[in-house]
């Protein structure tokens, strides 16, 4: 391989690295332990204390809350999609209006902490 192609390739790699780091930075800084507490206080009333989608309100909801321990379902969603669903509510992601829009109540940091916790819950066992 010639020198110029090599430099070009290295730059490309560097750029890709910066992009990935930048995107995961918000979540890396996020605190899953903080997210666990927020989940217990806000989400568990419908999604359940263990995140199975079977909270005390679940039998009274016409649409069943998402099971957050379902690896397949949760793995199919990007962090951006999760952020949108939490912040803007179920309706914003073509799901039920019964999932509230929490963006008026929780900060961006809170929501990122929740996503960090959700990732542990669904996919780190």
């Amino acid at each position: 391989m010639n020198r110029e192609a090599n430099i070009f390739l290295n730059c490309l790699l560097g750029l890709a690295l910066i992009l990935t780091l930048g995107m995961s930075a918000a979540l890396e800084a996020a605190d899953a332990e903080q997210g666990r507490l927020l989940y217990r206080e806000n989400c568990a009333q419908c999604h359940g204390l263990e995140g199975s989608g079977k909270g005390i309100n679940a039998p009274h909801l016409e649409v069943a809350p998402r099971n957050h321990t379902d690896y397949e379902e949760m793995n199919a969603r990007t962090n951006e999609e999760l952020f949108k669903a939490i912040s803007e509510g179920g309706q914003a992601v073509n799901k039920s209006v019964l999932m509230p829009n929490w963006g008026h109540t929780l900060s961006e940091e809170d929501i990122n902490n929740l996503i960090a916790f959700l990732r542990k819950l669904c996919c780190e066992q």
Partner: protein, 224 residues
């Protein structure tokens, strides 16, 4: 710059002390309540054990308060803070009824005195006044119920009849009897402005939408 910062710091520290100075001491009749309820704004309510009462005068109707204290009935099907009263079996949550205590009752003269004192606690006058343009109106029971359950999702956490609705929030079929109309409007608008620990989200509804929901709570009481 340094001096300016110190002045700012000084003013900031001065505010809470002056607030504290205004708080009246808790009278002997209400001392028993303080072990569970937040009666003082500065105290912080990290325990979640019971609803805060330090703004009782901005929240309740005095007649209801006086009666309920003599013959309390359950308002929150899952207790003060739901997560403290839930058992999970095979991932399925249910209310741990055995962990729910009956509320203490007091005799009629004590109830009158306590209600009097609680109604004097009005630190949220300004917040309440922001909802003063609400004029209670009417809504058809069918439309009201549909809005409450299907469109706004309130029924997921609240019962609008003794049989129907979620369990984590207080029942709302007696809400109009116990709560001041402006409080209802203000709380739906921004629950955490009242209680930073609230498990109820603000949905960013506009005044018209909130007034319609409040009207629905009104007809729940007037119907029977």
């Amino acid at each position: 710059m340094f001096i300016l910062r110190n002045i700012v710091l000084l003013t900031l520290t001065a505010v809470p002390t002056s607030l504290l100075a205004q708080e009246a001491p808790i009278p002997a009749i209400a001392e028993a309540c303080a072990s569970c309820h937040q009666l003082d704004r500065s105290e912080g309510n990290t325990a979640h054990a019971a609803p805060p009462l330090f703004y009782a005068g901005n929240k309740y109707r005095q007649e209801w308060l006086e009666q309920w204290l003599q013959a309390p009935y359950r308002l929150r099907p899952a207790g003060g803070f739901f997560a403290d009263h839930v058992i999970t079996e095979d991932g399925i949550d249910s209310v741990d009824e055995a962990s729910l205590q009956d509320h203490m009752a007091v005799d009629s003269s004590k109830a009158a005195d306590i209600a009097d004192w609680l109604m004097s606690l009005t630190p949220m006058d300004d917040l309440l006044a922001a909802s003063s343009d609400y004029q209670p109106g009417s809504v058809s029971p069918r439309m009201g119920a549909m809005d409450f359950v299907k469109f706004k999702g309130c029924g997921g956490c609240h019962r609008d009849t003794p049989e129907y609705g979620g369990l984590s929030g207080p029942e709302l079929y007696t809400a109009w009897q116990r709560l001041q109309p402006q409080f209802i409007v203000s709380f739906i608008k921004d629950p955490r402005a009242w209680n930073p620990d609230s498990a109820m989200p603000s949905r960013g509804l506009n005044d018209g939408q909130i007034h319609k929901l409040a009207d629905y709570l009104k007809i729940l009481t007037n119907e029977d």
